[in-house]
């Protein structure tokens, strides 16, 4: 009897030890925290990324969607995760905007940068019920009814900053209503409960189905996917905006792990399959390594701090 027990115990112990091993990083799956729901644009992009990363990493990357409160729940979870290289956090510009609008206490400084992966240009979209045919119509109407046109946005995040920048440049005044996440915002736009909202090329099928209209894109030059869509710049509104997605890891993550993930990042960025999938998502592949990504984050942070204060938000401690 005793032998049966100790045998069983030994099996169990061995099982636990087997997963320990002594091999090099990574010896078990890596968790990727995505702070938005599955099916959103970040999730869509990072799922493809994780799939392709399998080729270059002996262990799978497992996505954990930790959602809520403008994406700050996931950020807090990532900040508190053990810095052992087995948690990476998929972030984008919202990490700056939510910090400077006081929505979140988590800053990019709480993490070790790994790499920038992609950048997705923003587009201003209007409800199919709206009377405007072009950006010009919208601006004229906005001047006639200041503070009345309803914009759906994730408050304090990129979808809020982007229209707010247009507002400032074009000297108009809109009204913001909270619709968190791209999917609910698009739904409200279709239903006509809001009139404007930020979107991107991932939603192109909805335009074709007549469920929304695109007014202008925030790139430097016209985008090859939508050659008829004017840029904000050529309309005289000096705004370029894109959502830049990358990976960071909790502060204190070992050098070895960071280097390995950076290497995987670089390989995925060069993989034609990834470029192809991103083209379909209306997203540009733009890789930056650890060093360059750190500089990028720093610059972006200063920029967003300025924007936030220009838009009237002051970070209170």
């Amino acid at each position: 009897m005793k032998r049966a027990f100790s045998c069983a115990l030994a099996i169990v112990l061995l099982g636990s030890l087997a997963s320990l091993g002594l091999a090099a990083y990574p010896e078990r799956p890596v968790k990727m925290i995505v702070p938005w729901a599955a099916g959103g644009d970040t999730d869509a992009i990072k799922r493809v990324w994780a799939e392709i990363a399998k080729k270059y990493l002996p262990q799978p990357i497992i996505i954990a969607n930790i959602t809520g409160a403008s994406g700050t729940k996931g950020a807090k979870e990532a900040k508190g995760a053990p810095p052992d290289g087995y948690t990476i956090y998929s972030t984008h510009d919202y990490i700056h905007t939510t910090y400077y609008t006081g929505v979140s206490d988590v800053s990019y400084r709480d993490f070790e940068p790994i790499c920038l992966t992609t950048s997705t240009p923003s587009i201003l979209a209007a409800s199919p019920n709206s009377p405007w045919k072009s950006m010009k119509d919208l601006l004229e109407d906005s001047k006639k009814r200041p503070g009345e046109i309803k914009v759906g946005a994730t408050l304090g995040s990129t979808s809020h900053f982007f229209p707010a920048m247009i507002e400032r440049e074009a000297k108009v005044k809109w009204k913001y209503v909270s619709y968190e996440g791209t999917a609910p915002r698009m739904t409200a736009l279709m239903g006509g409960h809001i009139e404007l909202g930020e979107t991107n090329l991932t939603q192109l099928d909805k335009v074709k189905a007549g469920q929304m209209k695109l007014l202008a894109i925030a790139t430097d030059k016209r985008h090859p996917e939508v050659p008829d869509l004017p840029t904000l710049k050529e309309l005289g509104i000096n705004v370029t905006y894109a959502v830049n997605r990358g990976f960071v890891a909790p502060k204190g993550t070992p050098e070895e792990a960071l280097a390995k993930m950076e290497e995987v990042c670089a390989k995925v960025a060069k993989d034609p399959a990834f470029a192809d999938a991103m083209r379909k998502q209306g997203t540009d592949v733009s890789f930056l390594g650890r060093k360059a990504y750190r500089d990028f984050l720093e610059k972006n942070d200063t920029l967003n701090a300025e924007l936030a204060s220009a838009l009237g938000y002051t970070r209170k401690k």
Binding site: A38, G68, A69, K150, K175, S178, E180, A183, T187
Partner: protein
């Protein structure tokens, strides 16, 4: 129609088909094993659906749901114990019939009645969900807010226990959603400085705790007292002429249609499950029967009423879930959670924006019914063995699986604590006579209620719009009426507030 056919074809994708078949088998088993409810089975299947496509996951869950309703009747007729609460009325007639030596007739009457009731209810499911969804697209934040209020008051006023406790349970659910970062700006509420509470209580572990954990503890409690009764073990003759059985059902068209309609209606009402439908349908069958005195001795009418209504109930629950994003019962609440995990926003636009998934779900609903009959045809006799797994083995395993299911949501241990904590709350609520359905509805709708209220005010500062917008106003008036009606009904049959004090 084309879209529907395409969706049906998507279901016949071999992988989807296999997943769904597995779902049906799991449902049949879970439904058949006494003490394991369909909700619990769906919960156990949930983690497996994370890796599937949304349609595969939902088709699997629909398989579990449909299979479960049929599984319940097997133990109800052969063991005299309802495998699920939605087969309670089936035991009244099925078990006596089986004891008279007509086990095969009893079981197959139930199986064929389930199939027919389910298929009949499928028509209003397809038509109703689409029509209601088309109406619901016009809903702005005001209408949503009022609809959620109405839903909560209906559930509370339908609860079998007191109206007051039903309302308290629902409001308590709303309160649970107020804990943690607020849904708009992420401001901490009631966290008492802890990080644990900051992320709030995720809805699925709460639901799993409230329903599965508390039910398991009830099972533990009943374990000592409940003797399984005179069990029909081996040597059950299940052979029967199927044509004769189907003929017997079709000779009672009114019973079949009436019970189906009752099931459908109960299903459409939010968060009232099949456990109410089968008893109501049974009562009505008895009332309309020419030989009501013979009920309880193995009348086919009772079996048909009970089994067709509980399958029709699935159709009704799915209508509410697909058209409004409001759970028709606990099982559809889990499905809503699964939709959200797959990044699909439930709500009126679900059908229009995710047409392939929605139509695929309709197709899955029909297919699951057919699959259930096929699986039962092949495997019926083996189910008997599984039904007799001793509870001291079953309960620990299910507890572990529930813990795993909660953990697997996003790989954090806090979810298991949430599951445990709400298991305790659920058990206490049962002991003190609070209904569980309203709290779940409150937890599901809480954030939405708040967000839509704020949205409404952000869109237009005029608070009277809740009353002056016609649909919103009508919904609010209806919710007042539902409470008033419940009060009036209780006044008519007074007493019973304090009787039957459960020993605690």
């Amino acid at each position: 129609m084309d879209a529907f056919l395409n969706a049906a074809l998507a279901i016949f994708d071999p992988q989807t088909f296999v997943y769904m078949g597995a779902g049906v088998v799991a449902g049949l088993l879970g439904g058949a094993i006494p003490g394991v409810t369909i909700t619990m089975t769906v919960i156990l299947v949930l983690p497996f659906t994370f890796g599937m496509t949304p349609l595969q996951g939902l088709a699997t869950m629909i398989g579990v749901y449909v299979g479960g309703e049929s599984g319940g009747l097997i133990s109800a007729t052969l063991l005299g114990i309802p495998g699920t609460p939605s087969a309670i009325a089936t035991t009244f007639e099925g078990f006596p019939m089986a004891r008279k030596g007509e086990a095969g007739r009893a079981v197959w009457l139930g199986i064929w009645a389930s199939l027919l009731g389910g298929l009949l209810a499928g028509i209003p499911l397809v038509v109703g969900a689409l029509q209601l969804a088309a109406l619901a697209v016009k809903f702005g934040p005001w209408e949503y807010f009022s609809l959620f209020v109405l839903t909560l008051t209906i559930v509370a006023s339908l609860s079998e226990q007191s109206l007051l406790k039903g309302l308290l349970s629902g409001v308590f659910g709303l309160l649970v959603t107020a804990i943690g970062a607020d849904p708009l700006m992420g401001v901490a509420r009631f966290t008492f400085g802890t990080d644990f509470l900051l992320s709030g209580f995720p809805f699925l572990p709460v639901l799993i705790g409230i329903f599965a954990f508390s039910q398991l503890m009830k099972d533990v409690e009943d374990m000592g007292s409940g003797t399984a009764g005179p069990l029909l073990r081996r040597h059950v003759n299940l052979r029967v002429s199927h044509l004769r059985v189907i003929g017997e059902i079709l000779r009672q068209p009114w019973n079949l249609v009436r019970s189906t309609l009752i099931g459908l209606w109960i299903g459409i009402l939010p968060a009232v499950g099949g456990s109410a439908a089968n008893i109501m349908a049974y009562d009505q069958a008895k009332k309309f029967s020419k030989q009501p005195e013979k009920f309880g001795t193995g009348m086919s009418e009772g079996i048909i009423a009970s089994e067709s209504s509980n399958n029709a109930n699935i159709g009704g629950s799915l209508i509410t879930m697909m058209a409004f994003g409001i759970p028709g019962d606990a099982v559809t609440a889990v499905m809503l959670g699964a939709l959200i995990i797959h990044g699909i926003q439930p709500g009126p636009l679900f059908v229009t924006t995710h047409t392939p998934v929605a139509y695929g779900m309709f197709a899955a609903y029909f297919l699951a019914h057919l699959l259930t009959v096929v699986v039962e045809w092949v495997l019926l006799r083996y189910f008997l063995r599984v039904m007799l797994v001793p509870q001291p083995i079953l309960i620990p395993i299910i507890l572990v699986l529930c813990a795993l299911g909660s953990f697997a949501l996003n790989n954090i241990i806090e979810n298991v604590w949430t599951f445990f904590f709400f298991g305790i709350i659920g058990y206490l609520m049962v002991k003190f006579g609070f209904p569980l359905a309203p709290i779940i509805l409150g937890v599901v709708l809480g954030d939405q209620l708040e967000v839509n209220y704020v949205r409404a005010v952000m869109t237009d500062a005029d608070p009277w719009l809740f009353l002056t917008r016609p649909i919103s106003g009508a919904l609010l008036v209806l919710s007042v009426v539902s409470v008033a009606f419940a009060l009036w009904q209780r006044r008519r049959r007074p007493a019973a507030p304090a009787e039957a004090e459960a020993e605690m």
